[in-house]
């Protein structure tokens, strides 16, 4: 398999993995143009965990989809791993986790995780090895031969994360992956995700509309606001990298959460 990551410039720590300059995206609708993104600039360094937070219509998902080459900006520039999003997509530089797990009902959990590997032409032996490894990583070992409907929503979403991790993408794009899950399951998955991030050293871009989730997970929080979709604040988290769940009761955590809330409010006031 020709992995185009080889052709890409080496990313050294501190160098931008995702880099957006004055990004604009305008949808033409029957009610006139909608400015989904306006003048969005952002640098994401290798190994960072970046959350995008904001009310609906603020363009956070659109921004993520621009990185994934699922939307095409109408202005400005964006690079992923130093190349255009299209080249990055073709080089399979990222794994994308959607809001719904989106597992294929006719494939087992193992079959679902194997799907991208089949598509990318990994050898049979390597498929088996990788499926086992990533299912272990999301604590789903032993569920390989179950069908998706036999698993709970949280387990399905973990399988979907395993699927995004199965090939060697060093970027993980996650679009409200835990949005449809209840609070307790979500806490558990957040904790797991942080461990996963620490073990795999991936760069993660994470869209959410939960303030505690954003603050708990991120090294960088990007606050966005709607009409037009834009960035109102970028917060570099002062929290330590080792984060037990009860860090959410510390004054530092509450202070960051407060600043995020202020940012969200500021975005709303100038409508």
């Amino acid at each position: 398999m020709q992995n185009a990551a080889v052709q890409m410039p080496e990313t050294v720590p501190g160098q931008s993995v995702i880099s957006a300059h004055h990004l604009d995206l305008t949808f033409q609708t029957n009610d006139g143009p909608v400015h989904a993104l306006k003048d969005v600039s952002l640098e994401v360094a290798k190994g960072e965990f970046v959350s995008f937070i904001g009310p609906s219509g603020c363009g956070k998902t659109t921004f993520l989809r621009c990185m994934a080459d699922l939307e095409h900006p109408t202005g400005g520039e964006i690079t992923v791993n130093g190349v255009s999003p299209e080249d990055a997509r073709k080089a399979r530089a990222y794994g994308y986790v959607f809001q719904a797990a989106g597992l294929y009902p006719w494939r087992t959990i193992g079959g679902n995780v194997r799907l991208p590997l089949e598509i990318m032409g990994y050898s049979k032996a390597e498929q088996v090895e990788r499926v086992a490894r990533v299912l272990e990583l999301v604590e789903l070992a032993g569920f390989e031969n179950k069908f998706p409907w036999q698993l709970s929503g949280g387990m399905q979403q973990r399988a979907s994360i395993a699927r995004a991790l199965a090939f060697d993408a060093d970027i993980l794009l996650m679009d409200e992956p835990f949005g449809a899950l209840d609070e307790i399951v979500r806490d558990h998955l957040n904790e797991q995700l942080l461990k996963l991030w620490a073990r795999t050293q991936k760069t993660i871009a994470f869209v959410t509309h939960s303030i505690p989730e954003a603050v708990y997970l991120s090294t960088k929080i990007v606050v966005m606001s709607p009409r037009p979709g834009r960035i109102t604040d970028v917060i570099d988290s002062p929290l330590p990298l080792d984060r037990p769940l009860d860090i959410r009761d510390t004054p530092e955590f509450l202070e960051v959460a407060h600043r995020v809330r202020e940012g969200l409010r500021a975005g709303h006031s100038d409508e």
Binding site: A68, R89, P105, I119
Partner: protein, 287 residues
Amino acid sequence: MSRNALPVLTVVLAIFLLWYIAAIFLNAAWAHDKATRSGEVLTTHTLVADTWSQEKPKLPAPHQVGAEIWKTTVEKKVTSKRSLIYHSWVTLSATLLGFALGTGLGIALAVGIVYNRTMDMSVMPWVIASQTIPILAIAPMIIVVLNAVGISGLLPKAMISMYLSFFPVVVGMVKGLRSPDTMQLDQMRTWNTSPAQMFWRLRLPCSMPFLFTSLKVAMAASLVGAIVGELPTGAVAGLGARLLAGSYYGQTIQIWSALIMAAALAAALVALIGFFQRMTLKRMGMA
């Protein structure tokens, strides 16, 4: 199973009852005619006995049809021209070939419509128009035209079957191949999936439930097509030929036994598809 048996049996019994009663009323006129000519007087008992045992009744009684079917299936060699098994096989072979051709054509057209914008815009109206032409009008022409170029026998009948059976497959498969949602398509896109992989790994599996539903309709239509195709060929062989010959000579019992045979054949074929549907969808974890 036994829970379903009682209602089904009740309905079957009701049908038989109505059938016997209808046979009395429809065949009574002929019985009275005969009695007047021979100067007999009919009691209720002899009237009923006569209406249920005429040689060419307007409506044969169920036991007459049953006896005819027994006589022409079990008691005749299958190679005999009088064997209903032989005629059923003639029709069945045309049905199956037509069904296979129709399914192939239907899937091919559906793939074209889904993947090619020009076909999407142009083919569907023709597909629908093709089904508005009465099959009885076009069947003799297909037979005659194909005969003129030296094709006769099984293939012309199969063509008529195909003509009727490709339609539900096209409609069902276009819907089925388009059933993956935006998220599933986007997901495939993030893996830089080729169009061929997209078809085999997403669109085709997604379309399976739609395909099987279409196949059931197509199978029934195929059988109708094969029977219709046998009518203009001069009633040589097949269930359609039995129907036509029966109506030439007023052999109502023969007509009804061919009809029942055709119905049983259709039910068996559709049940067979249902079986494959359950097997496939179960294996795919979708049922």
